[in-house]
């Protein structure tokens, strides 16, 4: 445990600290770029892009070995992956444009073909005698064990550049994601902005290959964005929350991975991000599951209270246990089911409001006003005092509930 604490405090050694910072920057960039991917509803395209990197990595390795190098130069491998990812992206676009296939079919085709080809190439590489092929498969799930300073620097610089580019493009990308027709009319070059967005996604994918791996990088693009969506109704805030939870996931995940080098880094980072997601799913105000549950209970309570009061006013028996409990808790009926003083007064008011609504519908033909009758909205919130006085004249004043008969069913 103290090992993890050391890693979190960046005191587990120079290399581990470097990796943690690099992973945090990568997470920040992935959260930022992923927000726009999520808003534009192109999440699956990034999965195709990620899987399309594999043949590029393998071919770059083969090319470097053929040129007499060890084949482990990270920049070279990333350049190869970027190239084949671009091909994959273009292939998805081309298939969607020129055939009748929908985008999801195109994504499925490109993803499996590129990934399959990549796996075949990896198998070929295993049989090669030259080069240091061990560890190439770590690009699948990510590994920070034995990462070099140069590798970490590449990740950090690439992440920082992606963040800067995302920041510059955030407004055009927001307009295009929200309302592409309007954006086009306003003179935004929608195709180029979309291309730039996919470029950012590709940059995150490529620089994330070493840390998170190509299979799970899509999770780092999407999970922080949907986490942010739970907490706010503003895209700018989604962007910040996604970036920060992405960074935190990268940092904590890399620290945990530093203490357990046998585990692949990618899945750990993704699990940390999922932790943020699950917490948000349940606890976020307004959009979270718990908040929705509370809101539903409150609404149910209001409905039962209102129904109970109207039943009291009409001296009808109440059979619903929940209604009885609600009335009793509010002090409107006694335990034996007889209405209290307060209960009779409120029941009278509820009944009077119903009559007022009836009168309102007779007087006002404007459905915009009377249409707001839902049984729960107080009439005072819709009509002015003098209008209500007019209704009262029509309904001959408030009515009082009859004597104290018990209303609970026995």
């Amino acid at each position: 445990m103290s090992g993890l604490l050391d890693a979190l405090l960046l005191s587990a050694g120079y290399n581990a600290a470097l990796v943690a910072i690099g992973a945090a920057l990568l997470g920040f960039a992935a959260g930022a770029a992923g927000t726009f991917l999520f808003l534009r509803k192109r999440a699956l395209v990034s999965d195709a892009v990620a899987h399309a990197t594999l043949p590029g990595v393998a071919l770059a390795f083969i090319a470097m070995v053929a040129a007499g190098a060890s084949g482990r130069d990270l920049l070279g491998l990333l350049a190869g992956s970027a190239l084949s990812a671009t091909l994959g992206l273009l292939a998805v676009g081309w298939i969607t444009r020129t055939t009748r296939l929908s985008e999801d079919a195109a994504i499925g085709a490109v993803l499996s073909v590129f990934f399959g080809f990549g796996v075949v190439l990896l198998t070929v590489i295993q049989t090669m005698s030259a080069g240091r092929q061990a560890g190439l498969e770590s690009f699948l799930l990510g590994s920070t064990a034995g990462m070099l300073f140069a590798d970490a620097a590449v990740i950090a610089v690439g992440g920082a550049m992606t963040v800067a580019a995302t920041y510059l493009l955030r407004r055009p990308m927001t307009v295009v994601a929200f309302d592409p027709d309007y954006a086009r009319a306003a003179g935004y070059d929608v195709a180029r902005i979309d291309l730039a967005m996919m470029g950012l996604v590709m940059a995150v994918t490529v620089i994330g290959l070493k840390v998170v791996g190509l299979i799970l990088i899509v999770a780092m693009l999407i999970i922080p964005a949907v986490t942010g969506r739970f907490w706010t109704e503003r895209s700018e805030h989604v962007l910040w929350i996604a970036s920060l939870t992405g960074a935190a996931s990268g940092y904590v995940g890399a620290a945990i991975s530093a203490t357990a080098p046998a585990l692949p880094t990618g899945p750990i980072i993704v699990l940390v991000a999922t932790g943020f997601f699950v917490v948000s799913l349940f606890l976020a105000p307004v959009r979270g599951v718990a908040a929705a549950l509370v809101r539903h209970r409150r609404f149910q309570h209001r409905v039962h209270l209102r129904q109970g009061l109207l039943a009291l006013a009409r001296a009808e028996p109440i059979h619903d246990r929940f209604t009885l409990a609600t009335l009793a808790r509010a002090g409107l009926i006694r335990p034996d089911g007889v209405a209290t003083e307060a209960g009779r007064a409120q029941a009278a008011k509820a009944a009077r409001d119903e009559h007022r609504w009836d009168a309102a519908r007779r007087i006002h033909q404007d459905t915009a006003l009377t249409g707001r009758y839902d049984g729960l909205t107080p009439i005072e919130a819709v009509f002015t005092a003098d209008e209500i006085a007019e209704f009262d004249r029509l309904i001959e004043g408030p009515r009082i509930v009859a004597a104290s008969e018990p209303v609970g069913a026995r």
Binding site: T174, F178, D181, A185, A186, G187, R234, H237
Partner: protein, 275 residues
């Protein structure tokens, strides 16, 4: 140097003076748009007058929205020229504000009413620039003008259809444009919103701006608009409402889809009402 549209018009033998075209907030010549092999708009000519309210009227599928979208470059043109105040539309974007059909966006998008209006001001901001107080004030003023100031912080999906339409209009107002193009602004909105929107549009006209709207409610055309373009894939008629909005032209536009008795009610019998 003459504009290609002018040459085209001259070759066709139509007599359109350069002054007309230069003044017109939106002029299209020979516009054809097609989805697949079927033209949605065919060889359409139209010259909308400046500082007026114009309607584009026609049956469903007549290419009303398509024509507007093609003029703005939202859908590609197969042929034709589009000029805005005498210049190619691409060079006059900053003078145009567009209010798309309400159905075109995702209502669960994380954005509030004021955020949407601020999008109308993004073009004034450099990539690095911040949204400043004056931008927020301009956005609030635009929301206030459509009666939505109290809903500035509301997520866009939590507004009623009419309120959403007002927010879209406010976004266009914030752009402070010379030409307002609206696609079915009154579709699916409540009566109060329709009144609010038409008041704003009339005030735009009073400010000497031009308004062009795709419109589907024949009954309100004489009340709301000065100029009308009747289309059904091709142009049927175009001109001042008093001259063009006749039973004969409507029958030609809608074919058998309008009952004659219905037509009689729509078109003012003698002198058209003035707005």
């Amino acid at each position: 140097m003459t504009h290609p549209a002018l040459e085209l018009a001259a070759r066709d033998g139509r007599h359109i003076s350069g002054a007309d075209l230069a003044d017109s907030p939106l002029a299209v010549r020979g516009l054809t748009v097609s989805y697949g092999q079927k033209p949605a708009v065919f060889s359409l000519d139209a010259t909308f007058p400046a500082e007026a309210m114009s309607a584009i009227v026609g049956p469903n599928g007549a290419g009303k929205s398509t024509m507007l979208k093609a003029a703005l470059g939202i859908v590609p043109r197969l042929s034709g020229e589009v000029t805005v105040f005498g210049r190619p539309v691409e060079k006059a974007r900053d003078r145009i504000a567009y209010v798309p059909q309400r159905a075109s966006v995702d209502w669960d998008f994380p954005t509030t009413a004021i955020d949407v209006v601020l999008m109308g001001l993004y073009r004034d901001l450099s990539l690095l620039g911040w949204v400043r107080t004056r931008h927020i004030e301009a956005a609030r003023a635009a929301l206030d003008r459509v009666g939505m100031a109290d809903f500035a912080g509301r997520q866009i999906g939590q507004l009623s259809g009419g309120q959403q339409q007002r927010v879209f209009l406010a976004r266009a107002l914030a752009q402070n444009a010379d030409l307002y193009l609206l696609d079915e602004p009154f579709a699916g909105v409540d009566a109060a919103t329709e009144r609010a929107i038409i008041d704003v549009l009339k005030s735009l006209k009073a400010e000497r701006r031009s308004v062009i709207a795709v419109h589907h409610d024949l009954a309100t055309v004489p009340d709301y608009f000065d100029h009308v373009l009747l289309i059904n894939v091709r142009r049927i008629a175009e001109g001042p409402v008093a001259d063009v909005f006749t039973a004969e032209n409507l029958q030609a536009t809608y074919g058998g889809r309008l009952a004659t008795a219905h037509l009689g009610q729509l078109v003012p019998a003698s002198a058209p009402r003035t707005t």
